[in-house]
């Protein structure tokens, strides 16, 4: 690839950049469509077994704001950036007042009050919840668990992707 004409080099770099940017923009497009900052999440713990296992891939929808008891929602704890997938067991307010939710993992003994931020007893639907689960694919998200548990795999994968795109012209 060295010794190429500047335009050829620019075209090769462009190919690589388009692969990355298309992936990113598809993700953002999905975010816009579902109105969720993270429309696809992977279940990281077994707290929702047997409904969801570790590694299940969940598809979220965040446009129905009137969440009902029994729905499974994904929320972020304030101050922490770990999404948690649990089921709604109580709801307060709604309508004029902001909707508040209490959640619990199916496989947990107690509800989530312990998990929430200090001084917080309920989730604010608008503020904390990033979507409710609409569909899922079992197990395929396990790759990302591997990637986050072995971070060097990310580097290897990105490097391999880059190399194949830059070196190939097919």
């Amino acid at each position: 690839m060295f010794g190429l004409q500047p335009r050829q080099l620019a075209a090769q770099v462009l190919n690589f950049a388009l692969v990355l940017s298309t992936a990113f923009m598809l993700w953002k497009g999905l975010s816009v469509a579902t109105d969720s900052p993270s429309p696809i999440v992977v279940v990281l713990s077994g707290s929702m077994e047997p409904a969801f296992q570790r590694g299940d891939l969940l598809f979220l929808w965040n446009r129905g704001m009137d969440t009902q008891i029994g729905e499974v929602v994904v929320y972020n704890v304030r101050g922490k950036d770990i999404p948690i997938v649990h089921r709604v067991v109580r709801r307060f307010g709604g309508g004029v007042k902001p909707l508040q939710l209490l959640t619990k993992g199916d496989n947990n003994a107690a509800d989530d009050t312990e998990l929430y931020a200090r001084g917080q007893d309920f989730l604010d639907r608008q503020r904390d919840v990033i979507g409710s689960v609409k569909a899922y694919i079992p197990f395929v998200g396990y790759v990302t668990i591997l990637l986050s548990e072995y971070p060097w795999l990310k580097t290897v994968m990105l490097g391999l992707m880059g190399l194949t795109v830059v070196l190939q012209r097919e």
């Binding site: 010794g3 335009r7 050829q8 620019a10 075209a11 462009l14 950049a17 388009l18 990355l20 940017s21 298309t22 990113f24 923009m25 953002k28 497009g29 975010s31 816009v32 109105d35 900052p37 012209r169 097919e170």
Partner: protein, 233 residues
């Protein structure tokens, strides 16, 4: 010009190497290459990439909530640009690998193509003479083995001879490389649309004859043959 060795069984390698060899040859004949198509394609592609990069930056620094309306517009703009980019490659460029103007001002366009699993180079040459609205089109094809050595190098001389002989617009600028037919006793006129086909068939025989001569020739192996071809190129 950098010569690179390729895998002779890889069709994309064969095609890309041949495509890349067109511009240096035509430039040496006095053609001026036009980069308009490529520049439009690069501009479209890079604008899309810049939009994605800016979106990524603001998403990373400001988060989702404050940026989501802008993100929606950026996503739309990105995919529109990407669509135009794809349209440009498939509908406008359509395999065009060279565009240039010769010394008289005529515009030459070359498009190349290969079919799956068939090592034949198909070239479509379109020439618009200066001060003329009508353009002429010539189709030519040749097996890659005519101008590739078995060891993976492009042999410039046979490649140029093939181009000059089968595409008259190039041959006119490079008469030395137009290889004469060697009569094999078969009759048939060389005029009209069929003539081109006839000629290209004979050209194939011609290459076989040359190949045969080379093999029977005293000592020149493929290595030294490649060296000779490259020195000439």
């Amino acid at each position: 010009m950098a010569e690179s060795k390729i895998a002779v069984h890889s069709l994309p390698d064969l095609k890309n190497t041949s495509d890349d060899a067109l511009a240096p040859y035509l430039t040496s004949l006095g053609f001026r290459q036009s980069h308009k198509n490529t520049d439009v394609r690069l501009a479209l592609g890079y604008s899309a990439v810049v939009i994605a990069a800016v979106t990524f930056y603001y998403d990373y620094t400001l988060g989702w909530e404050p940026t989501k309306h802008w993100t929606a517009w950026a996503v739309a703009a990105y995919f529109v640009l990407n669509g135009v980019f794809t349209y440009w490659i498939w509908i406008v460029e359509k395999g065009v690998v060279y565009q240039g103007v010769d010394e008289s001002g005529g515009r030459l366009t070359l498009a190349s193509r290969t079919n799956k699993h068939d090592p034949t180079y198909h070239l479509t040459a379109t020439y618009a003479p200066p001060l003329s609205a009508r353009s002429q089109e010539i189709k030519a094809s040749a097996p890659f083995s005519r101008f590739f050595h078995a060891d993976g190098y492009l042999a410039q001389q046979p490649f140029r001879q093939w181009l000059a002989s089968s595409v008259p617009f190039i041959g006119a600028a490079d008469p030395n490389n137009v290889v004469e037919e060697i009569g094999r006793g078969s009759g048939g006129g060389g005029s009209g649309p069929g003539g081109i086909k006839m000629q290209s068939v004979r050209m194939g025989d011609m290459a076989d004859v040359l190949e045969g001569l080379k093999k029977s020739g005293s000592s020149s192996g493929s290595k030294s043959g490649a060296g000779k071809a490259r020195r000439r190129g």
